[in-house]
């Protein structure tokens, strides 16, 4: 039970911080002391086609379309070792300001789970762009209409007959699954790791797994097509998007998991970091750049399409949020037994 408490306190931290911080991006208005002098490499510590990759390529498009930067932005996928390849590359490039990296939760989970010598404090945080939501999905032809019904079915069924599909191993999807299992005691899910969120959603449509915790953007098309059904959203509040997605439902109509009696919350960071030892001027440039990106209509449409939680922050607030969230992950992962057995150095 104390795991749930931790998750809840985590989202409290998020809530408390955001209220104070949303306007931080505006602080960097003064004249630019630094500008990129050559193409900026935008590293995606994940494979092609996933949520982080889509967002990075979208940002690339927005920056190019609106001429927000004199130099081009080049997206590079470095997903080896659950993103370790990408993070180590940025870490290596000390004092090289022409490198950005977009993170997902693996900025915390990869070092904790594999023991590779890397910590987010070794990079320079720039901005939090948004928080990505997680939704509990089942196949639309399954009998479960609410999260409570589904959890009851898992409890009543045979051990491990319910299959939860997710992206990667010992990462966010599996962390949520382990948290969910606290409500299905004594029964467990069989957790099946796949390469990407798109594959997970398709496997759910095909009936090879019984549920998933896909991000909204990965499953929305199947929801529209009437093949998947959302049960609940792993956030403290319902989504703010009220535009109808299907004939009768909007994102805001999906109940929170807590409402449905399944008290689990989790959201994933979509943030930007740059190389170690970047100067304050360089960080200010990028903070300002992403503030401009987030002000575009394209970005707002993208946020709505993926039902993102539009929390943004930068500077010290972002740092303290990162510190708190890393602690949360350490606790979650150590309770789930996901911490690396031996640290490799």
């Amino acid at each position: 039970m104390n795991m749930l408490a931790v998750i809840k306190s985590n989202s409290l931290v998020i809530g408390a911080l955001t209220a104070a911080v949303t306007a931080t991006a505006a602080l960097s208005a003064p004249a630019q002391a630094w500008e990129p002098t050559k193409p900026v490499t935008f590293i995606v510590p994940a494979g092609t086609g996933g949520g982080a990759d889509q967002m990075a390529r979208f940002i690339q498009g927005v920056i190019a379309k609106n001429n927000l930067m004199a130099q081009p932005l080049v997206v590079v996928n470095k997903g080896g070792g659950a993103g370790a390849e990408g993070f180590l590359e940025v870490k290596k490039g000390k004092g090289e300001p022409h490198t950005l990296v977009i993170t997902l939760s693996n900025v915390f989970t990869t070092p904790l789970g594999t023991g590779i010598p890397f910590n987010w404090t070794e990079l320079t945080p720039v901005s939090m762009l948004a928080l990505d939501q997680f939704v509990l999905w089942v196949n639309a032809s399954s009998p479960y209409k609410t999260a409570a019904e589904y959890i009851e079915a898992v409890k009543a069924g045979d051990e491990k007959t319910f299959k939860m599909g997710g992206t990667g191993s010992k990462q966010e999807d599996q962390i949520i699954t382990v948290a969910l299992q606290r409500t299905t005691t004594p029964k467990h899910f069989t957790y099946l790791p796949y390469q990407g969120g798109g594959a997970v959603a398709t496997q759910l449509v095909g009936g090879h797994i019984t549920s998933s915790v896909n991000n909204p953007i990965e499953a929305v098309s199947h929801w529209k097509a009437g093949t998947l059904r959302p049960l609940c959203i792993f956030d403290a509040e319902r989504s703010a998007y009220t535009q109808k997605i299907t004939a009768d439902m909007a994102w805001s109509d999906i109940p929170t998991c807590k409402e449905s009696g399944v008290d689990v919350q989790y959201q994933m960071l979509r943030g930007i970091f740059t190389s170690p030892e970047a100067t304050p001027e360089q960080v200010a440039y990028y903070v300002d750049l992403f503030a401009k990106v987030m002000a575009t209509d394209d970005w707002k449409g993208f946020m709505q399409n993926g039902a993102f939680n539009q929390k943004t922050m930068s500077g010290d607030d972002f740092r303290s949020w990162l510190t708190a969230t890393e602690d949360t992950h350490r606790t979650l992962m150590s309770e789930a037994g996901f911490l690396a057995k031996k640290a490799t150095n």
Binding site: K38, P39, T41, P72, V74, H188, Y191
Partner: protein, 171 residues
């Protein structure tokens, strides 16, 4: 790798000896990997199914077994072909004359950058092997890296390792 083994008689090394050496090397590799697999676990785990070492352990067991047979075959029942030479002495010389400059080239990339190293490598290779005149060698040696530079750095925006010369020119 093994080309530099001492010559027993007139030949450098026989196919049979190379066969045995390669099989033994593969066997050693397989055993190292199997030991590592034992360390990370190669059985069934309740939560994760087959563990991380499960698959490599099986393939390396097969590799060790196949290599053992290959080694025994070459040692005990060599075929007609296996008594032949693995490589002729002039042939080995020519191979070494490519491997050595290539290694030097890769070594140099780290210090002078890929473009300067490529220019030198191409020009020297052309002069040494093709007996191609200096001017023509230099032209190709400078032209190709220059074309690659524009292709990778300017058009396709793929950064390659650069050295002091590029830094002087502002890249």
């Amino acid at each position: 790798m093994h080309e530099h083994e001492p010559a027993s008689d007139a030949t450098v090394v026989s196919v049979r000896a190379m066969d045995i050496a390669t099989a033994l090397a593969l066997m050693a590799l397989a055993i190292i990997v199997m030991l590592e697999c034992v360390e990370i676990g190669f059985g069934w785990s309740e939560a994760e199914g087959p563990q991380a070492g499960f698959f490599p352990f099986i393939v390396c067991a097969a590799l060790a077994f196949a290599s053992l047979i290959n080694a025994l075959q070459a040692a005990l029942f060599p075929t007609e072909d296996q008594h032949g030479d693995f490589v002729s002495i002039p042939g080995l010389g020519r191979v070494a004359l490519v491997v050595a400059p290539l290694a030097a080239y890769i070594f140099a990339i780290g210090y002078v950058g890929i473009y300067v190293a490529s220019a030198l490598f191409i020009a020297i290779f052309m002069m040494a092997f093709g007996k191609i005149p200096l001017v023509k060698s230099l032209a190709v040696g400078v032209g190709v890296p220059l074309a690659l530079f524009f292709m990778f750095e300017r058009w396709f925006l793929v950064p390659l390792p650069k050295g002091p010369l590029e830094a002087m020119l502002g890249y």
